[in-house]
């Protein structure tokens, strides 16, 4: 069947069986490989995408379920050649090593600071607790999200001024 989604702001369609997992739809049918598969059992979050702004695990969502909905993947974070603050944060604070969990972590982080612009360290750790990173020990991921939150705050202040 034909499935159409709003992918990173643009309408995208492809033919897929009803059993097609959203992550496979994105990777195989739409050819976007920034969304990864890490565990198959919805434990690791490497497949995280935003569904109408909220992070979900695309290995445990059917593509047909999101017909007509808004999906954001890592490829949609940077806008017009400008990095999203979460991307800048991950680079500046060494929030990534192998990079495999990074797209999911950044999307969760971006949604987190969108909902809670000034998160505490505990709120960040709780917020990313559905995503596993095997390399960083999370210390610098927390800093990366704090970095992005601070950059957002600074930009908002600048915007007001």
């Amino acid at each position: 069947m034909k499935i159409t989604v709003n992918m990173n702001g643009a309408e995208r369609s492809a033919e897929a069986e009803p059993r097609t997992l959203l992550v496979d739809f994105i990777r195989t049918k739409l050819g976007m490989t920034g969304t990864h598969i890490g565990c198959d059992t919805s434990n690791c979050g490497a497949c995280t995408v935003l569904l109408d702004g909220r992070p979900v695990k695309s290995c445990t969502v059917l593509a047909v379920q999101v017909e007509g909905k808004n999906i954001t993947t890592v490829e949609g974070l940077a806008k017009g050649g400008k990095l999203h603050p979460i991307q800048e944060g991950f680079h500046a604070e060494h929030g990534l090593q192998c990079g495999f969990c990074t797209p999911g972590m950044m999307l969760v982080g971006a949604a987190l600071i969108e909902a809670n612009p000034h998160p505490t360290e505990d709120e960040i750790r709780w917020g990313i607790s559905g995503n596993i990173c095997r390399c960083t020990g999370y210390m610098n991921i927390v800093k990366a999200i704090q970095h992005a939150a601070a950059a957002n705050a600074a930009e908002n202040i600048a915007g007001v001024a």
């Binding site: 059993r19 097609t20 496979d24 059992t41 445990t60 059917l62 990313i128 559905g130």
Partner: protein
């Protein structure tokens, strides 16, 4: 890992869902958030002929208080219970349990009704619903039934829901009196099912005595367990360490755990006792601090 092939339909109206269910019976599976069903499909533990997605049916979501009940639409996401802060003081146990369900991303998709109908003995909502005396509204093309939580959980992944029925709403009575509750969960990490969890909900009368008490036990039996003897030991009593300790002892005795990788039966039973004891202290303190 992916599911075996199936047919898929996403009706826009509940009647259509019910008619499809009566037509397909056991060959159909209802998909709500999918956070329990899709893993089963991927593991090929379930291979339905048709998946009926209720995600596009209006009127199944939301939390509202009316006529002495808190009414939760069956397709309400765990995340939305988590953020229903106006339940604080009336249904503390719901607010404490919601953030402990799986992980934040699963809570964005998973639904309260889906989780209850899945009836995993280690699922969190079962024990909570037993503690608060919930009722489940279920519909089929033949009409509506209201099933009390007590008796609904018949065994592992088995409930009183018929194959042609869909749960539409969870109703929780909220009566007079000062209430307090909490949910304590022993998990090995975030996202894990409970090794042991306990839901506690108490109401104090004007005289300070316990007018009602609900205790639900999670992951210590073939299904969620209501610790009725422990509840009975509390009702009518003035709260004290001794009363609480005795109720906790009875709750531990009501547990029917099995040894597994998470620990011995003895261990789980004792954690149930410890958690009920701690939970009752918290619940009663909260109730005593509350204004009626």
């Amino acid at each position: 890992m992916f599911p075996a092939a199936f047919d898929y339909i996403a009706p826009g109206a509940l009647d259509e869902v019910l008619s499809l269910l009566s037509q397909h019976g056991d060959d159909a599976k209802v998909l709500a958030g999918g956070q329990s069903l899709i893993p089963l499909l991927k593991l090929r533990f379930a291979s339905p002929v048709i998946v009926i997605d209720i995600g596009r049916v209006d009127g199944l979501e939301g939390i509202r208080q009316e006529n002495g009940h808190v009414r939760i639409g069956a397709r309400t996401r765990h995340r939305d219970v988590e953020s229903a802060t106006d339940l604080r003081g009336t249904l503390d146990v719901l607010l404490d349990a919601a953030p402990l369900i799986s992980d934040p991303l699963i809570r964005n998709m998973g639904t309260v009704g889906g989780s209850i109908c899945h009836a995993d003995p280690a699922g969190d909502w079962g024990a909570v619903m037993l503690a608060v005396g919930a009722e489940f509204v279920v519909r089929s093309s033949g009409g509506e039934r209201v099933l009390p939580a007590v008796g609904f959980f018949e065994g592992p992944f088995t409930t009183g829901l018929h194959a042609d029925e869909v749960m539409t709403e969870i109703r929780i009575p909220v009566g007079a009196g000062r209430s307090g509750g909490t949910y304590l969960k022993l998990e090995r990490k975030v996202g894990d099912f409970a090794s042991v969890a306990t839901a506690v909900h108490v109401v104090l009368g004007g005289d300070g005595r316990i007018s009602s008490a609900g205790i639900g036990l999670c992951a210590v039996g073939a299904q969620s367990i209501k610790a009725t003897a422990a509840e009975a030991a509390l009702v009518g009593q003035t709260p004290s360490d001794a009363v609480i300790a005795e109720a906790a002892r009875l709750a531990g005795a009501a547990a029917e755990p099995k040894a597994d990788i998470r620990g011995s039966a003895e261990y789980k039973r004792d954690v149930a006792r410890v958690f009920v004891q701690r939970g009752l202290h918290t619940a009663i303190n909260r109730a005593q601090g509350a204004t009626a």
